[in-house]
């Protein structure tokens, strides 16, 4: 029983797990976790080179952008102008137009600033980018972003880096039901069961960084996430049984001795 691939701006992916590249002990551990996860896309950030240490380890020396799709983010950007500037540099560095837009607000909760996110999405789309957008779990804003032309809607399940799990199942389900582009839970997943939970809600993929990077054994957690996403997806496609109020024996009652 073949599942259909995840399609983002016309590109097909067999893995529905996207992992981050922040917070790891080092890039080697990150590369090992990536191999264990089976992910085909990694999120990355753009930052100034360290002029005082030109020999510092480079992400691209450990994770090959020709083998794995780099999805540049706009972390640290608070306006549409900042986001466009950052992603133009990323496009020049890597040559891809698929990007992850995140315009954050208060450092305490890192919720997306949705009015600025909508404005930035429009600027990026006008500039030729394929925008995957980190957003609140508000179905109204999700609809506006899809109507603008975003190629994936990526609501949070809980604040970035919190590992609190999927706190907003009703809203995630509503967004899944109304969207015709992929819906990807971005932020909140803390462990494998929560990745499966997001997929069982019908999400097309999940993005997780901290849950893997801050696990005691990140490589093992990466493997767990791989299986969880597959399990959750299969369960969603299979369709769960109806919930019942009372027991229903699995063994027939007839023919008892």
């Amino acid at each position: 029983m073949q599942d259909k691939p995840l399609i983002l701006a016309g590109q097909e992916f067999s893995s529905r797990l996207i992992i981050g590249t922040g917070k790891y002990k080092d890039y080697q551990q990150n590369a090992d976790a990536l191999a264990a996860s089976g992910a085909q896309i990694v999120t990355v950030a753009m930052r100034r080179v360290n002029l005082s240490d030109p020999d510092e380890p480079m992400l691209v020396d450990f994770i090959d952008p020709k083998q794995v799709l780099f999805l540049p983010n706009t972390a640290g950007c608070f306006t549409g102008e900042d986001a466009v500037r950052t992603l133009r540099l990323a496009r020049e560095a890597g040559g891809w137009s698929l990007v992850k837009l995140e315009v954050l607000s208060d450092p305490k909760h890192l919720y997306p600033d949705m009015t600025e996110t909508v404005r930035a999405a429009k600027m990026l789309i006008d500039d030729g980018f394929d925008v995957m957008v980190y957003c609140s779990d508000d179905p109204v804003f999700a609809r506006k972003l899809e109507d603008l032309g975003c190629v994936a809607i990526m609501p949070l399940g809980a604040p970035i880096g919190s590992g609190l799990g999927i706190q907003n199942k009703v809203n995630i389900r509503l967004i899944v039901e109304q969207s015709s582009v992929p819906v990807i839970v971005d932020a909140g997943v803390g462990t494998a069961s929560e990745a499966a939970e997001a997929m069982e809600l019908g999400c097309d993929a999940i993005i997780t960084n901290t849950a893997i990077a801050e696990a005691k054994d990140p490589v093992r957690m990466a493997k767990a996430m791989k299986h969880a996403v597959i399990a959750g997806r299969e369960a969603y496609l299979a369709g769960r049984m109806a919930r019942k109020l009372y027991a229903d024996p699995s063994s027939p009652l007839g023919g008892l001795i």
Binding site: G20, T21, G22, K23, Y24, Y27, N30, T43, V44, A45, M46, R47, R48, V49, L51, P54, D55, M58, L59, V60, P65, F70, P72, N73, A75, R85, R88, L89, A90, E92, A93, G94, I160, G161, A187, I207, N209, T210
Partner: protein, 66 residues
């Protein structure tokens, strides 16, 4: 010639292209992107783009992120 690179003031004695600046900084052109006075410099133009006094240069690369 004074140029600001990633917010740091640097002095160079000779005329400089972006390509030569990267060599002077021991950076590999294929691994970075360069912005000059808020305009992207395409990698293909590194060799012919000559820097001017008081240019503001940003040199960035991919790092780990979520």
């Amino acid at each position: 010639m004074k140029i600001t690179i990633n917010g740091e003031l640097r002095e160079f004695n000779e005329e400089l292209t972006i390509a030569r600046m990267l060599v002077a900084l021991s950076l590999v052109p294929a691994k970075v992107a360069v912005e000059r006075n808020l305009q992207i410099v395409p990698r293909s133009a590194f060799g012919e783009t000559v820097l001017s006094e008081n240019d503001k240069i940003e040199i960035v690369r991919f790092i780990g992120g979520g």
